[in-house]
Structure formats: structure tokens, C-alpha cells
Amino acid sequence: QDNRISIWSAGDLGNAGLSGDYHGEPHLLCDIQHNGDVMDMQFLDQERIVVASSTGTVTIFRHHQNNQTLSANHRWEKAHYHVDQDTSCGGAACTGVVCNNPEIVTVGEDGRINLFRADQKDAVRTIANADSSTLHAVTFLRTTEILTVNSIGQLKIWDLRQQRNEPSQIFSLAGDRVPLHCVDRHPNQQHIVATGGQDGMLSIWDIRQGTMPVSLLNAHEAEMWEVHFHPSDPDHLFTCSEDGSLWHWDTSANVSEKPSFLHQGGRSTAYLSHSTINQSVVSAWLSNDPTKDRMEITNLIPNQTLSVNSLDVLGPCLVYGTDAEAIYVNRQLFA
């Protein structure tokens, strides 16, 4: 198998034509061989990328921008492994990685959580057997707390300051314990968490209250692989799935209704009563009133065929990759 980590240039904004569009295709800048499937990756800083492999290895690659090359900077072999008497090298896939420079947290099929620091050779902390099932994804809740999701439908909060190897809180779905595959936290309001499940359902959780999700939204027809809040515009959420679709969830219409005393009618009073809870603007994600929910959901892929495995969004750019071995870049997301 020949797997590679590649860096692409999606076009230089300086070359934009009169209409402001850049019609060039992304072109490859550099790439490097990678051992095993790339399960997850994230930028650690401007130059370094942390990559999780299906062999259980976690690698930091450095992108040298002066000569456009990639090199392996640091590697933690056997970050994830199964303890098996029969096989000598029971590597377990590392399924998720999240960074908060210089800390790196990884989770894997072995149910292990590792905390690394970019400059240290060994793991700072390892919680072995943190979960009896596979941990599918991890994200930071606060600088010292992480969220994990697993294949028996549980969302767990772990406090890394504490030495005990137990989660500080466990949330689970009501009904069937459908595996959860992805998790993301609202960029500004840290109590709002979104997860995606194997049945394609999007769940929004308020972790301040209750152990069950606030809303369940029937979304895709197959596994939801990734969910992302837009980092600077969190009224927008993006999900991609095995069924080949990528959905853009837009609740910005709701929030534009600012409370106004001059506004006549029952609507504004209903809105004001919401706002008597500590915030002046309640996030549209938590409101589950169907008559007021004006959430626009659009499928961004016109002819879907194979699974969309991964996506990322920054500013006006959206990039996603499919099983048809194609990468798509949309540079005018909100046009």
C-alpha cells in the first residue's frame, strides 16, 4: 500500500481575476510516504502536522515552506496497541487526534487515551482501558478537559488534571446505543457539543444539564464521519457522511432576530422570555421549538456517489475528500 501525506495549494488569492474567482485546480506542493492508513490529522502549529495511523503510530510531520518538503519530525510508535498473546505486534488503529499546542491527545481502537507533548519522547499520560469499546473521536472541551465518543453511544468528559482513570461525566443517547463517530464543540459557547452517529443522526448536547442530548436531528442515511462548527461563524455547522452527502446547517436566520422593544406582537415577547436565562442571545442550536426553528439545511454535493470521509472549514473555504479519491475545494462558501 502506498499511502502519502500531501500538502496542496488551493490557489493564491493574489491571482484572483476580475470577478474575484480563482479557477485553478489545487496543485500538489509536496508529499511524503506514510505507513498505514491516515485515520485523522490536525495542524499543531503553522508548520507541524500530527497524523494518526491505522498501525497505532502517531507522527508529527514538519512542512518546510522554504523548499516545499515534508519530513517526519517525531514519531510515537505503538501509541495504540492491543495486548494479545498470539500476535507480537498487536497494533490498534489510532482513530482520533486533537491538538492544543504543545499538547496532543490521541484515542484509538484499543480504548486508550494518550496525552503527549510535542517535545517529549514519551507520553505524558496514558489512560489504558479508558473505554471498553473503541473511541472514535476526541476534542478539547477546555484546556484541561477532553470529550470522547465511543462505539456504544457514549459521550464522556475526562478531566486531565485528575489522576483517576475515570471519566468525570458520562452522557449517552436514549434508546439504542448507536455508536458515535465524531464530536465537535461550539467555538464560543463551550457547553454546546455536537456529535454524529452511525445512523447518520446529528445530536446536539448541552453538557451543563442532563445526560441526554437536547436535540436529535435526522440527517444522513449512513454513518456521519465528521461534524464541524464553523470556527468563526458558529451558526453554521457542517457534516459529511458515508452516504456521499455533505450538509451545511445554517441557523443564522434565527439569531438575527435581536430582541427589540419596538417590535410588536407576541413573537418578540416569546423571544424575550428565552433571553431571561443568563444570555442575551440564546444559541439557535439549543432551541428546539419547531415553529421558530428556521434552520436551513443544504446538501453541498450535486451528484453524490461515494462516501465523503472528511471535511474542514475555515473562513470562506470548505475542503472535503471523498472515497472516489478526489478532493474538492469550495472557496466561496457564503457567496
Binding site: D131, S133, A174, E325
Partner: protein
């Protein structure tokens, strides 16, 4: 029909005994000792030795390790640059299958032509990439390989283009010639560099290849460009101005079929006849006698075969010759007439010096409108089923292939698609494309898919999930069960009980859930406490998947209730577990022992009814045991039973008193 023998490099039957096994798309060849050391080894043993690569010592010579070879038939799918071809064409294929069948007539045809053009542009894009790779690589072997691939792709595009003109678009007399001209101009590019050289030179008319380029333009029917060059010559050489004017005029007036229906064929033929006669007159008058180049051009315009044949090197191929001939002698050629001209053109061009190559035979078959022959020849020549599978599918959509069934039941289109998709399945990543191809093979697609999908190596859970999703969408329940069992077994072996449970829930596999629960219960009995509480405490509705699992959940709940000191509820639960027969018989003793502390509490917990029930359970347990001898020998067991009987009796006594007094007061 002989298949050329393939040599496996490194496998030498003269030094080592070889054995082999067939796989779905590969052959496994391994060196064994079977039959060597006097046949004393069993075959299984020898094979096992070979496969594990153990050092084999024989009496014959020095010990050496054995090797295993994997022989793959289809090498092409592993070429990196061709992956784009496979992926993009998959997208076009799916689009075609899903396209509206209701569109009839012209719009459907236009749609099919567009699909054909899409396929061709994918081939050309791939050719570009391959060419780039060939230019940029430094390894001569790789360079050779890439260059070969480029020429193969170019040939494929040539054939496809011709098929598009003749079959998909089914161009009629008139436009047919124009399409063929375009085809030739696009594909005969050996002369391009010469053309560029002359055009970019300072005074083209002085260039030694000037007349060659003019001839090329005339042969390809590029009149405007030829006239443009001639004008340069005329301005440089005023003495031939007269001749040039006449020739220019002739070339300008030449009637060609138009794309639109502005004139009928008969009109065109009349005009053309008129023009032809005019050219004839000028030639016979000797107008061009002083300039042999111009004279030869005039002869070409008249369709003189010998004159055209003189320019063999400029045409390079017999099909170029064919089209030039047609342009200047039969511009209104009908599609069905092509075969005659094609055959004679090839004979004249090759002239007995060289024999036709496979590509020539394929093109000839196309000109003869023998579609099946085209497909057959291509299948033989090409190393990969990609081309024939997609072309046949397109032709089938054009309703051009009669469904003549091959002797094993499926039609040609399905056969080729099955072969192509099977080839894809041996690739670790392209198998996903193969699934869609199987879906569109109505007769055998499903069976093939069922067989292939179970053999995909499941290295990560994510891959297993993708395979499972494919099976579930097609209601392939057997495969779902089988894959989930494999994954669950793997998880169990790695002690990931939660994962194992999650897989059995997905497959709704009650038997496996029972297995997992037994594992948990075994762990509990050995260690006295539960492992993976986060799983057992949060089973939810999945608890109902199997009785054993329900028992596990409820038993854990009992422990929790006991821990929270909610004794009456705990007692009730415990009793239900036994009386409702949810608990396995082997566990009853443990449950009764768990009841002991409840019986010994200061406060009476079990009611009389419940105590009678417990006693009955105990008696069932001890009476039901056939081997009373063994039971009595085990001191611990007998003590337990004794203690239980005592506790039960005491509890009964207390509860009768309590219940009696409550009722009394």
C-alpha cells in the same frame, strides 16, 4: 486460443517443489517440501512449514527458508497514474446508469454523445498525467513503462473516438466526413512538430519543409491554413502569382458537407461534380505544369490515388489515407460504404510491405460496423478490462448490441463488467468502485458481490463499517452477520468487550451477545467484581438482545441496588431473576449466595411468599443435581447449602411472626 505462459520470477521448479492455490484474483505459489523427503511428511505439515517460512532442514542439503509468491493477473490497477482513470470513469458510468431513459430521439443521442466525450476527456487527462510522469521520472524502466502506457491510452482514445463517430453518434453521410476529418486531425500528430517549425520560422516559404506542410494541410482538408501559407509563397515568388490565384480559387470553392442541413446531399454532389470538372480542366490545360508542387496539390484535389499515396510519410497511417481519399473522391460517403473504402485503403497503403497490426484490425472492424469484433479484438489486445467494459456498456445504452447471450447465460455487457469489477476487488482501495459496477449487472452481479465482499481484508474498524454499510444497503444479511462475527471475535480476543458487544448489536446477533455476557459473568466469578462497568451500567435497550445480556444488566442492577441499600427492591429483583428463568442454572448458586446477606439482615426483607420461592429454588437446585455423590463430597458446597437452608428457615420464622402480627394489629 493459447494464453502466453507467465513466468514467476524467482520461482524455480527445478530447485524447489512448488504448490499453488487459487484466490479470487490471485494465485498463491509457494515452495514446499511435499514429496521431497521420501513423502514422509503429511501435505498439511509441509505446506504449513512453507507458509510460516520456517527453516526446513532436510537430509539433502543445507536448510533454507521457503518463500511464498503472490501472482496477480491484473497489474494495471496498481499503476498509480491510472487510478484517476478508474475513479473518474466510475463517476461517468454511474451518471450514465442513472440518466433519464425517457428522453428519446435526438436529446437522448446528444446525451450519450456527451457521455462518450466525457470518457474520452478522462482518457486524455490520464494521458497527460502519464506523459508528465514519463518526462519527470529519472528511472529509465519507469519511463519506458509510462511511455508504453501513454501509447496504449492514445490508441484507446483513437478507437473510442471512431466508435463514437460511427456507433454512438451514428453520423450520416455528409457530417460523417467532417467527423472523420476531425478525428484524423486530432490523432495524427506526428507531423505537428514539423508544422510548428515551419510556421514559426522567419520566412516559411523558404523553409525546406514548406511544401510538406502545405501538403499536410491539404491532405487533412485544412484549406484555410493551406491557402494562408500559399499566399506567403505567392508574395515571395511573384512569377507564380497566376498559378497561385487559380489554385487558391479552386481551394476556396471546394464544396464540403456542412454540419447544418443547409443543402441536401444531391445538391452537394452536383456542386462537387462541377468543381471536380473544373479542377480537371485546369490540370489538363497544364496550368500548373511549371510548378510540380502545385501540380501535385491539384492532383490531390482531384482525388488521384497515386498522387495521394506519394505523400505516404506525411499521412503515416492508412486511415489518414482513407479519409483523404474520401474527402477528395467521395465526400458524400455513406456509413455503410465505408467498409469497402477502408479495406482498399489499407491494402493500397500497406502495399504488401507490412502486415496490419492489431490496432489496424480493430479500426477495420469498426469501419465494417462489426461491433462485436471490435470488442473481441480489444479484449484480446488490452491487458485490462476497463476499455471494453465501459465501451460495451455505452453501446448497450445506445441499444446497439443485440442481447445475444453468451453460453453461460449473461450477455456480453454484463460479462465484461463482471470481469472488470472483479479485477477491481483485488485492489485494497478500488474495490469500492467495483461494488457499484456489480450493482448494475442484473443477473450475476449480486452473487459476485456476495462472494467478493467477504474477502476484503478488514484492517481497521472504519473499513469494516464501510463494508457493512454496503451489505446492509443491499440486504445481504448473511454477509452482515459474518462480518460482524469476525469483528466481534477479534474484539473479544483483544479483550475489548464493549466493541464486541457493539458489533453483535449491529448484527442483532443474540448468540454472540450471550457469549460476551458469559465472558463478563466468568470475569465476575473469578474476580468478584465487574469489569467495564461503564458498559454494563449503560446497556439500555440493547440489553434485550439476548437473555444472558438481560441477566447481566439486571444482575448488575441488583448489585447497585444493594450498594444503595435499597434492599426490598434488590430482593424483589433477585427473586425475579431466578423465578423468571432469566438466570442460567449455573448461576443460581451464586444468586442464592447473594441472597444470604439479605436474609441475615436485622430487618426482615423477604416476605413469606418470597422465602417459599427461594426455598423451592434451592431444592430445585439440589434435587436436580444427578450426581448427588459428588455434591455431598464437596464440603464448601454442602456448607453453603446448609447455611442457606438455615438462613431461609430463620427468615421464614421471622417473617411469619411479622406478617402475623401486622395482620393482627
Amino acid at each position: 486460443d493459447t494464453v502466453p505462459p507467465q513466468v514467476v520470477p524467482g520461482a524455480d521448479p527445478s530447485t524447489r517443489q512448488l504448490c499453488f492455490a487459487w484466490g479470487p484474483a490471485e494465485v498463491l505459489v509457494c515452495e514446499t517440501l511435499f514429496g521431497r523427503a521420501g513423502g514422509s511428511h503429511s501435505r498439511a505439515g509441509a505446506a504449513a512449514q512453507a507458509l510460516t517460512g520456517s527453516v526446513a532442514g532436510t537430509g539433502e542439503g543445507a536448510p533454507s527458508s521457503s518463500r511464498v509468491f503472490v501472482v496477480r493477473r491484473d497489474q494495471d490497477i496498481y499503476i498509480q497514474t491510472l487510478r484517476k482513470l478508474f475513479n473518474e470513469s466510475h463517476g461517468i458510468f454511474m451518471g450514465l446508469q442513472r440518466s433519464e431513459e425517457e428522453l428519446a430521439g435526438k436529446s437522448r443521442k446528444a446525451q450519450l454523445v456527451q457521455v462518450s466525450k466525457n470518457y474520452r476527456s478522462v482518457i486524455r487527462a490520464c494521458m497527460e498525467d502519464m506523459h508528465q510522469a514519463a518526462v519527470s521520472t529519472r528511472d529509465p524502466a519507469l519511463q519506458g513503462q509510462y511511455s508504453t502506457q501513454v501509447s496504449i491510452l492514445s490508441a484507446m482514445e483513437l478507437i473510442w473516438n471512431l466508435c463514437e463517430i460511427l456507433f454512438v453518434e451514428a453520423a450520416v453521410a455528409g457530417p460523417l466526413l467532417l467527423r472523420l476529418l476531425d478525428w484524423v486531425r486530432l490523432h495524427v500528430c506526428d507531423v505537428d512538430s514539423m508544422v510548428r517549425e515551419v510556421l514559426s520560422s522567419e520566412s516559411p516559404s523558404k523553409h525546406k519543409l514548406f511544401w510538406n506542410v502545405v501538403d499536410v494541410f491539404v491532405l487533412q482538408g485544412r484549406m484555410d491554413e493551406a491557402r494562408h501559407l500559399l499566399s506567403k509563397e505567392a508574395s515571395a515568388n511573384p512569377t507564380s502569382m497566376n498559378m497561385y490565384k487559380i489554385l487558391d480559387d479552386l481551394m476556396k470553392k471546394m464544396p464540403v458537407p456542412g454540419l447544418g442541413n443547409t443543402q441536401t446531399l444531391t445538391e452537394l454532389e452536383l456542386k462537387w461534380q462541377h468543381w471536380h470538372e473544373e479542377c480537371q480542366r485546369y490540370l489538363q490545360d497544364g496550368t500548373f505544369a511549371s510548378n510540380p508542387h502545385m501540380e501535385s496539390i491539384c492532383k490531390i484535389l482531384l482525388g488521384d490515388e497515386d498522387a495521394i499515396l506519394e505523400k505516404k510519410e506525411l499521412m503515416t497511417t492508412w486511415y489518414h489515407f482513407l479519409v483523404t481519399r474520401l474527402l477528395y473522391s467521395h465526400p458524400t460517403v455513406k456509413p455503410l460504404e465505408l467498409r469497402f473504402y477502408a479495406q482498399s485503403s489499407m491494402d493500397l497503403f500497406l502495399g504488401g510491405e507490412s502486415s496490419p497490426e492489431p490496432l489496424d484490425m480493430i479500426l477495420m472492424a469498426a469501419f465494417e460496423f462489426e461491433m462485436h469484433q471490435v470488442i473481441k479484438e480489444c479484449s484480446i489486445v488490452l491487458s485490462n478490462w476497463w476499455f471494453v467494459a465501459h465501451l460495451t456498456d455505452l453501446l448497450d445504452h445506445c441499444k446497439l448490441l443485440q442481447s445475444h447471450n453468451l453460453y453461460f447465460g449473461s450477455n456480453m455487457r454484463e460479462f465484461l463488467l463482471l470481469e472488470y469489477a472483479s479485477g477491481l476487488f483485488s485492489h485494497h482501495s478500488l474495490w469500492q468502485l467495483g461494488v457499484d459496477y456489480f450493482d448494475h449487472c442484473p443477473e450475476y452481479g449480486r452473487v459476485y458481490l456476495e462472494l467478493h465482499i467477504e474477502r476484503i481484508p478488514l484492517s481497521t474498524e472504519q473499513k469494516a463499517l464501510k463494508v457493512l454499510r454496503i451489505c446492509e444497503q443491499r440486504q445481504m444479511h448473511e454477509q452482515v452477520r459474518s462480518i460482524c462475527k469476525i469483528m466481534a471475535m477479534k474484539a473479544l480476543r483483544n479483550n475489548r468487550l464493549g466493541s464486541a458487544l457493539s458489533w453483535s448489536i449491529r448484527a442483532k446477533d443474540a448468540a454472540f451477545a450471550t457469549l460476551i455476557s458469559d465472558r463478563f459473568l466468568k470475569d465476575y466469578c473469578e474476580r468478584g467484581c465487574f469489569s467495564d462497568l461503564d458498559l454494563i451500567d449503560n446497556l439500555g435497550p440493547s440489553m434485550l438482545l439476548s437473555d444472558r445480556l438481560t441477566f447481566l444488566g439486571k444482575y448488575r442492577e441488583f448489585h447497585r441496588l444493594y450498594g444503595e441499600k435499597r434492599f426490598p427492591e434488590a430482593a424483589r429483583l433477585l427473586l425475579t431473576l431466578m423465578t423468571a428463568h432469566i438466570a442460567p442454572c449455573s448461576f443460581w448458586m451464586t444468586l442464592l449466595t447473594d441472597a444470604l446477606p439479605l436474609l441475615e439482615q436485622k430487618e426482615v426483607i423477604f416476605s413469606a411468599e418470597q422465602t417459599y420461592e427461594l426455598m423451592r429454588c434451592l431444592e430445585d437446585l439440589t434435587a436436580g443435581n444427578p450426581d448427588k455423590q459428588k455434591f455431598q463430597d464437596d464440603d464448601v458446597e454442602t456448607t453453603k447449602v446448609e447455611m442457606l437452608r438455615l438462613a431461609l428457615a430463620r427468615n421464614l420464622a421471622r417473617v411469619i411472626v411479622k406478617e402475623g402480627s401486622v395482620e393482627g394489629s
